[in-house]
C-alpha cells in the first residue's frame, strides 16, 4: 500500500519540521506549508491524505483554510492551536476540522490521532460513503450490534458484556446524558442504589479502551454532576 501523504501547515518552521520528523519516523510521507494560502496551492497539485493545520498563521489562517478545503474535499484535518478554551475547540470542529489538538501537544498523542483519522479515511475514504453500514456509527466508533463488536478506527476493541451494554445504550442515543442510575437500571437490569461509583468505574475502563487520551476524551464524556454521554459528532 502507498504511504499516506500528510500536509503539515504551520508558520513556525521548527514546529513544522518537528512534526515532519515525528511523522517520518512513523513511516508517513510529509509535505510542509507555512501558511493557509500555500496549503491551498499545494492541495491543488498533490495527492494528500491528511492535513495538520495550525490556526494562527499569516496570509490565511488555519480555520479559514479549513473552511475553504471543506467546500470541496473530505480529507481529514487535524487543527493545531494554542487556544485551549472549549469555545475555541467547538469553533474549530464546527469549521469542519475532524480533530482539535492544543499546543503544546504530546507528540505520541498527535501521532495516535493522525493514525486514527487516517484509518477511518483510508477504510471508508471518499468511497466509503457508498458502503452501507448496518451498525451504529459515531465518528470513528462503529458498533456492530449483530456481531456485538466495537470498532475504533476499524480496530476491534474487546469489551466485557457490561461495557458493551453501556456503550450500546449511549451510542444508540448520541448526545443524550444518562445518569448512573439510568445506566445501571438499563444495563444491569436491577434497581439502582448508590451506583455512581460502580458505573463511573466502568466508564473509566471503556474510556481507556476507546479514547486516544482518556483524560481528554473525544467520545465518551462525563457530564460532571449529572451523568454520562457519547458525544454527538457531525456526520460527514
Amino acid at each position: 500500500m502507498e504511504k499516506p501523504r500528510i500536509l503539515v501547515v504551520d508558520d513556525d518552521r521548527e514546529i513544522a519540521a518537528a512534526i515532519e520528523k515525528l511523522l517520518l519516523l512513523e513511516d508517513f510521507l510529509v509535505i510542509r506549508a507555512y501558511d493557509g494560502m500555500e496549503a491551498l496551492d499545494l492541495l491543488m497539485g498533490e495527492e494528500i491524505h491528511l492535513i495538520i493545520m495550525d490556526v494562527m498563521m499569516p496570509r490565511l489562517d488555519g480555520l479559514s483554510a479549513t473552511m475553504k478545503i471543506r467546500e470541496e474535499r473530505n480529507i481529514p484535518i487535524i487543527v493545531l492551536s494554542a487556544k485551549s478554551q472549549d469555545s475555541d475547540k467547538i469553533l474549530g470542529l464546527s469549521m469542519g476540522a475532524d480533530d482539535y489538538v492544543t499546543k503544546p501537544f504530546n507528540p505520541q498523542e498527535l501521532v495516535a490521532r493522525v493514525r486514527s483519522q487516517l484509518r477511518r479515511y483510508m477504510q471508508l475514504g471518499d468511497l466509503g460513503n457508498a458502503r452501507q453500514e448496518s451498525g451504529l456509527r459515531v465518528g470513528s466508533l462503529y458498533l456492530d450490534e449483530e456481531s456485538r463488536e466495537l470498532l475504533v478506527d476499524g480496530e476491534n476493541i474487546r469489551l466485557t458484556p457490561t461495557e458493551y451494554g453501556i456503550i450500546q445504550l449511549l451510542m444508540r442515543n448520541p448526545g443524550v446524558v444518562f445518569s448512573a442510575e439510568q445506566i445501571y437500571e438499563k444495563v444491569w437490569k436491577e434497581e439502582a442504589y448508590s451506583v455512581e461509583n460502580t458505573v463511573m468505574v466502568h466508564i473509566r475502563r471503556i474510556r481507556e479502551k476507546i479514547e486516544i487520551n482518556p483524560k481528554e476524551p473525544k467520545y465518551l464524556k462525563v457530564v460532571w454532576g449529572i451523568g454520562y454521554k457519547i458525544e454527538k459528532l457531525q456526520q460527514k
Binding site: 518537528a18 499546543k103 449529572i226
Partner: protein, 608 residues
C-alpha cells in the same frame, strides 16, 4: 538719567522726608493761623494800608453814628472817645465838647458827617453811611473824628499790617511748597523704582469705610482740640506787643496736634490714592466690595465652584445643606414679615422660588458631571480589562509556541538510539520538566482567564454529591498512587445546585490533589458534604505533613506553597485556581487552618 531720577524720587527715604516736610508745613501753617487768631488782627490790614479806606473804618463809623444818634435821642449818656458832635432841634442843642457850634464842622477842613433826610451822610462824598431813622427829633446833627484819634487808628492799622504781611508771605510760600510736595506724594505713592506697577501696602487692605471713619475721628479730635486750645479770651497781644506764654504754648499745642492729625490723614489719603491707582477702590470698600464678594459667595454655594476641591457627591451634599438651611431661613423670614409687615411677606417665597430654581439647575449640572465621570471610568475599566485579556491571550500564544517546539524536539531526541545512558537520563529529565512547564503554563492561563472573567462558563443543574463521587473515581489512580485513604461522608440524597460542572470538577480535583500532596503520612483525607440552611457545604480536610506557619491570605496567593520548597510537580496554582473557579461557578471559597488541620470549605446555594 531718568532711571536715576526715579530711583531717587521713588526711594522710601525721599518719600518719608517729603511726608515729614508736609506734616511740618501743615503744622507750621496751623501755627501761623493760631498766631493770627491770638493776635486778633483784622485780616483786612492785608488789603489796604489806609485805615480810612478799610471796611473796618466803615464799621467803626456806623457804630459811632449809631452812638451819636442814641446820645441825641437821650438814650445813651457816655460819649465814645475820639469824636466831636453837634445836634440841634426846636428845643435845644447838644454838643461835644459842649461849646461846639455848627461852624466847627461846616467851616472846618476835615471830613465830617451830617444828618439829612434822616440819614447820616459823608460831607465829602455825600454817601449815606448810616440811616438815623425817620423818627429823628433833631433837625441838624454833625459829628467828626478827632485828628488824634484818626492818627492813632491809622498807626495801629499800619503796625498790624506790618505783622500780618510777613506771616502771609510765609503762608503763601509754605502753601506752594505743600502743594508741590502733595502732588509729588500722590504721584509716587505705590510706585517703586524697579517697575511701573502699583504696589499696595498691607494697610491698603483695610476697608475703605474704616478709613473714612478714621478720618472722621481724626477730624473730630482736631476740632475738639482746637476748640479747647483756642480760648477766645486769650486774644490780643500782651503789653509788650508780643504773645503771652499761654498763647505761645497754645500755638505749639495746636501745631503738634495738627502735625499728628496731618500724619494720620496723610497716610489715609495716600492709601486711598494707591487704591484708586490700583483700581481697587471698590473692592476695598466693605459695602460695595463686600457685597459683591457676598453675592459671588452665595452664587458659588449654588453652582458648586466653591466646592471645586471637594468630590462631586460632596458638592451635592453641601449644596443640599445650604438649600435646606436657606429655605428654613426664608420660612422664618416669611413668618417674621407676616407679623411685622404683611405685604412684604411675598418676598421670601419669591426668593425661595429662585433658590429652588438654582438648586435644581446646579444639581442637574453636578449630576451630569457625575454621570460623565462614571461613564469615563467605566470605559477606562473596560479598556484595561480588554487589554488584560489581550495580554493573556498574546502571552499565552507566545509561551505555548516555543514550548511546543521544546516538547516535540525532546520527544524526537528521546527516540535517538545511539545515546549514552547519561544523555538518556538528561533527556528524561528534560521531558519531565517540559511536561511540568506545560502544566504550569496551562494552569497560569486558566487562572488568569478566570480571575479576569474571560472564561467560558456552562451553568447546569447538577448534583454535587454525584460530582464528588465521579471525581473521586476519576482520580482513583492518583489516590491509590499517593497511598492515602479518602474518607467520605456524603448525604443519602442528591444535593442539587446550579453551577458549572467542568469547573467544579477542576476545583475538587485540585483540592484532593493538594490534600494528597501535602498530607502527613499515615493520615486520612476527609471529604464531607452537608446541606445546611439552604447551602451545600463541601469540606475537604487533611492533616498537613509540615508546619503551617502562614496565614489564610498567604496561602491563596499565586504560587504560594506551604512547604516553601519549590520541588514537586505542582504548578503551585492549584488552590488559587480552585478559589477562582469556585467563584466563577457561583460558589464561596474559604479555608481554615487549625494547628496541623487544613480544611477547605466550598459553599453553593442549594437549588430547590
Amino acid at each position: 538719567m531718568d532711571t536715576r531720577l526715579k530711583s531717587f524720587s521713588r526711594s522710601n527715604w525721599t518719600k518719608l522726608a517729603s511726608f515729614l516736610l508736609i506734616v511740618a508745613m501743615v503744622a507750621g501753617m496751623s501755627g501761623i493761623f493760631v498766631y493770627w487768631y491770638f493776635s486778633g488782627i483784622n485780616p483786612e490790614v492785608l488789603l489796604t494800608g489806609d485805615y480810612k479806606e478799610s471796611e473796618a473804618y466803615g464799621s467803626d463809623l456806623r457804630s459811632i453814628a449809631y452812638g451819636v444818634a442814641r446820645i441825641l435821642e437821650g438814650e445813651q449818656e457816655t460819649v465814645p472817645g475820639g469824636i466831636s458832635f453837634y445836634g440841634k432841634n426846636e428845643e435845644n442843642t447838644l454838643s461835644w465838647p459842649s461849646n461846639l457850634t455848627e461852624k466847627h464842622f461846616i467851616e472846618g477842613e476835615g471830613e465830617y458827617f451830617y444828618l439829612e433826610e434822616g440819614r447820616f451822610k459823608n460831607s465829602e462824598t455825600g454817601e449815606t453811611i448810616f440811616p438815623y431813622g425817620s423818627e429823628a427829633s433833631y433837625e441838624k446833627a454833625y459829628f467828626s473824628f478827632d485828628d488824634g484819634y484818626m492818627q492813632l487808628k491809622q498807626k495801629e492799622w499800619t503796625s498790624d499790617r506790618e505783622v500780618m504781611i510777613p506771616l502771609m508771605v510765609w503762608l503763601v510760600i509754605i502753601l506752594l511748597g505743600l502743594v508741590a510736595l502733595l502732588v509729588y506724594q500722590f504721584i509716587v505713592t505705590g510706585k517703586k523704582a524697579g517697575d511701573e506697577e502699583v504696589h499696595t501696602a498691607p494697610f491698603d487692605r483695610i476697608y475703605l469705610e474704616l478709613l473714612i471713619a478714621g478720618l472722621a475721628l481724626m477730624g473730630l479730635l482736631w476740632f475738639s482740640g482746637l476748640s479747647s486750645l483756642l480760648y477766645s479770651g486769650d486774644i490780643g497781644f500782651n503789653g509788650n506787643g508780643g504773645m503771652s506764654s499761654r498763647q505761645t504754648l497754645g500755638i505749639y499745642m495746636v501745631a503738634a496736634l495738627t502735625a499728628f492729625v496731618t500724619a494720620g490723614v496723610g497716610v489715609t489719603l495716600l492709601s486711598v490714592a494707591r487704591r484708586i491707582k490700583a483700581k481697587k477702590i471698590i473692592e476695598s470698600s466693605f459695602i460695595f466690595g463686600g457685597l459683591r464678594r457676598g453675592v459671588q459667595k452665595g452664587r458659588s454655594f449654588m453652582d458648586g465652584s466653591r466646592f471645586d476641591r471637594a468630590s462631586l457627591t460632596g458638592v451635592l451634599h453641601q449644596r443640599q445643606i445650604y438649600f435646606v438651611a436657606g429655605s428654613l431661613l426664608l420660612v422664618l423670614l416669611t413668618f417674621l414679615m407676616l407679623i411685622v409687615a404683611t405685604p412684604l411677606a411675598i418676598i421670601p417665597p419669591i426668593m425661595e422660588g429662585f433658590l429652588i430654581y438654582w438648586y435644581f439647575k446646579y444639581n442637574r449640572e453636578t449630576f451630569d458631571e457625575i454621570e460623565k465621570g462614571f461613564n469615563e471610568s467605566l470605559e477606562e475599566q473596560m479598556k484595561s480589562e480588554r487589554m488584560k485579556i489581550n495580554l493573556v491571550t498574546n502571552v499565552s500564544h507566545d509561551l505555548k509556541t516555543p514550548l511546543t517546539s521544546i516538547i516535540s524536539y525532546v520527544d524526537l531526541l528521546s527516540r535517538e538510539e545511539d545515546m549514552s545512558p547519561l544523555a538518556r537520563d538528561y533527556v528524561r529529565i528534560l521531558s519531565e520538566k517540559s511536561e511540568r512547564l506545560k502544566n504550569i503554563v496551562s494552569d497560569l492561563f486558566d487562572l488568569a482567564r478566570s480571575t479576569s472573567g474571560d472564561i467560558d462558563t456552562d451553568f447546569e443543574d447538577l448534583d454535587l454529591k454525584k460530582l464528588v463521587e465521579q471525581t473521586l473515581v476519576d482520580m482513583e489512580d492518583s489516590i491509590e498512587a499517593s497511598g492515602f485513604q479518602i474518607r467520605t461522608d456524603l448525604p443519602e440524597r442528591s444535593v442539587n445546585i446550579h453551577s458549572d460542572g467542568k469547573k467544579l470538577y477542576r476545583v475538587i480535583q485540585n483540592l484532593i490533589d493538594n490534600a494528597l500532596k501535602y498530607s502527613l503520612k499515615g493520615t486520612r483525607v476527609y471529604v464531607e458534604l452537608v446541606e445546611e440552611k439552604g447551602k451545600a457545604i463541601l469540606g475537604i480536610k487533611n492533616t498537613a505533613g509540615y508546619e503551617m506557619n502562614f496565614s489564610k491570605d498567604e496561602i491563596l496567593q499565586r504560587f504560594f506553597r506551604g512547604d516553601q520548597s519549590r520541588s514537586g510537580d505542582g504548578s503551585g496554582l492549584g488552590l488559587s485556581i480552585a478559589e477562582s473557579f469556585t467563584r466563577v461557578s457561583g460558589g464561596e471559597f474559604d479555608l481554615q487552618v487549625d494547628g496541623d488541620q487544613f480544611k477547605v470549605i466550598v459553599k453553593f446555594p442549594v437549588d430547590r
